[in-house]
Amino acid sequence: MAGVQVSNVSRSFGAHKALDDVSIDFADGGFYALLGPSGSGKTTLLRQVAGFDFPDSGRISIGGESVERVPVEKRRIGMVFQNYALFPNMSVADNVAFGLSVRGEAKAVIASEVQRALDLVQLGKLGGRRPHQLSGGQRQRVALARAIVTKPRVLLLDEPLGALDKALRVDMQIELKRIQREIGITTIFVTHDQEEALTMSDRIGILRDGRLVQEGPPEEIYDQPKSEFAATFLGDANIFRGESTGNGIKLPDGTAIAAGAGAKLAAGAKASCAVRPERIRIATDVEAQDAANANMLKGQVSKRIFAGNNSTYFVERGGQTLKVIVQNTGIDRLAEGQDVVLRWAPESTVLIATS
């Protein structure tokens, strides 16, 4: 029973509004990812929930109770700090044991719990080291072990996996999810890794300049961004700007781009369309193929960037550079300079009202 409600919270540092009327309902047992540009207020929000810092206005409740007067140590939270904040005077094991030992657990219980937690983060053998003898990623894992060993009811994670390599990161993601499910802990997770946010979380919230821009389940946010910012911030998007035609737009050069069936907007207003690069098919054949109901643009490949499982083609078209992601299935590479045709379904087009 420990959902977290943040209601109309604002917090300023001097003239700078770090949080501006933010309301989020973190569901009990849910896994919530907070995304947002650097300096958008993510850490500040976590600090309000943790109780290190206090809103200028607004309310925060945990498990239905306002925590305004509940001190940090009574909130039963676990937190991983962006800079780890390991206790320099304690060994790794003592760092992890700290939360249990202040609670007065028996020595034997502590020892076994600590060992379990350290094994979990694959540091079982480094319990005796001091933090300054660890590498960056090892420190981060200690911080994680320390936060979860107490089985808190709310877990606040400020980029807990930022310094880990992919393989370990995936391991830790899986572990984290497992722990989170097992103890049903409400988790708020700040990350810069989009894939991580998308794959792990039940819901995602996007902050910008201290405001909550959009929130919802990962696929919804990804597929139906409500603003150009949301579209380009989470995932990549090609943005076309023009004039609304009701359920599509007309570009300044007259080209029409159709959006999916659901999209509606007063015709004539300024509007944008966002298209995910992976939704676009790139081809060299100019003749019409399944032309019915498909958007089509011509362009010229200017660059290809290899990124492991996929490559991104940069296609020049009327002064705009469009991105197209193509999975590296092992065949057909397009040469730079080649003329290409880009096609995508109206359903892959998101119509966005702009002011």
Partner: protein
């Protein structure tokens, strides 16, 4: 409201009070109130204690300005304080640096303790020992003459340098320890960052390490400068006929004649001057930090 919650645990005298009160109550009873009585006396013509009639006067403070003697001595004492503080910095800071950044492991703790230990011996006995070292035919003289091919005569005793040596010896551990405390806390990666940007060791010292250890330096300097300005025992014994300082004349008012009001007034003038110097110096130092 939320704001109240914030003030309640982030700041406020109320939260600080339980921690502050014992120390400051103690200081009040044992120092501030007695000194207030002294402040009171410093405005009297006579002490009521002696049974003579007394009245309020500013004369004791005026006395300071009416005789060049006091000002001369105060300046001499300030200069002494400055010189001793500087020497303590010059000698103590590098030692603190070595202790904090070069030595590793157990030996560091041991040396840390060893530095303070000489303090535990009696001040007077220490000064007598210095006399033994510094005088003509003393240890320094004998040792140097044993080493040097030519004959020299070293008689530092009863001179200004002797006073400096004795005071520096007494106070340098303050500097070593306060600087050590802040130096030890500086993250090595900051030093490395500085050097990776092309700064030499010296530049890193000047631009990064010294500013970051400033709290320790300032604390050490204050703990040295302040008592040295008021010192009278070391100068008197080691300084011989040059050993007269501001502290001496204050002492005389208490010991040789029964003129506490004047003695108190002189000490509060000293206190005021010292506090003004600290107040002026601290923002400058803070800015440097």
């Amino acid at each position: 409201m939320a704001a109240q919650g914030a003030t309640a645990s982030r700041s406020g005298l109320r939260s600080a009070l339980p921690l502050l009160a014992p120390a400051y109550l103690w200081l009040t009873v044992a120092i501030f109130l007695p000194l207030s009585a002294m402040v009171f006396f410093s405005f009297m013509t006579e002490l009521p204690l002696s049974g003579k009639p007394w009245a309020f006067t500013l004369g004791n403070y005026a006395a300071f300005f009416s005789q060049s003697l006091y000002l001369t001595l105060l300046l001499a004492s300030l200069r002494l304080g400055l010189v001793v503080t500087l020497w303590c910095i010059v000698i103590g800071y590098p030692a603190a640096y070595v202790l904090a950044k070069v030595l590793k492991g157990r030996s560091r703790e041991a040396i840390f303790l060893l530095v303070i230990l000489p303090f535990w011996s009696n001040g007077l006995v220490r000064i007598f020992s210095w006399a033994m070292v510094l005088r003509e035919g003393g240890i320094l003289d004998t040792a140097l003459n044993a080493v040097l091919p030519f004959k020299i005569n070293i008689d530092l005793m009863y001179s200004y340098p002797a006073v400096i040596i004795g005071l520096v010896h007494s106070y340098v551990p303050y500097m070593v320890l306060t600087c050590y405390l802040t130096l030890q806390a500086i993250d090595d990666s900051l030093i490395e960052a500085g050097r990776s940007l092309g700064a030499s060791r010296l530049q890193v010292l000047k631009r990064v390490i010294i500013p970051l250890s400033m709290p320790g330096l300032v604390a050490g300097a204050a703990l040295i400068f302040v008592p040295v300005v008021g010192s009278f025992m070391e100068p008197r014994i080691l300084g011989g006929r040059t050993g007269t300082f501001y502290g001496t004349v204050i002492e005389d008012q208490f010991v040789a004649v029964f003129n506490w009001p004047l003695g108190a007034a002189l000490s509060f003038i000293l206190l005021a001057v010292v506090l003004i110097i600290l107040a002026v110096a601290s923002p400058v130092l803070r800015r440097a930090a």
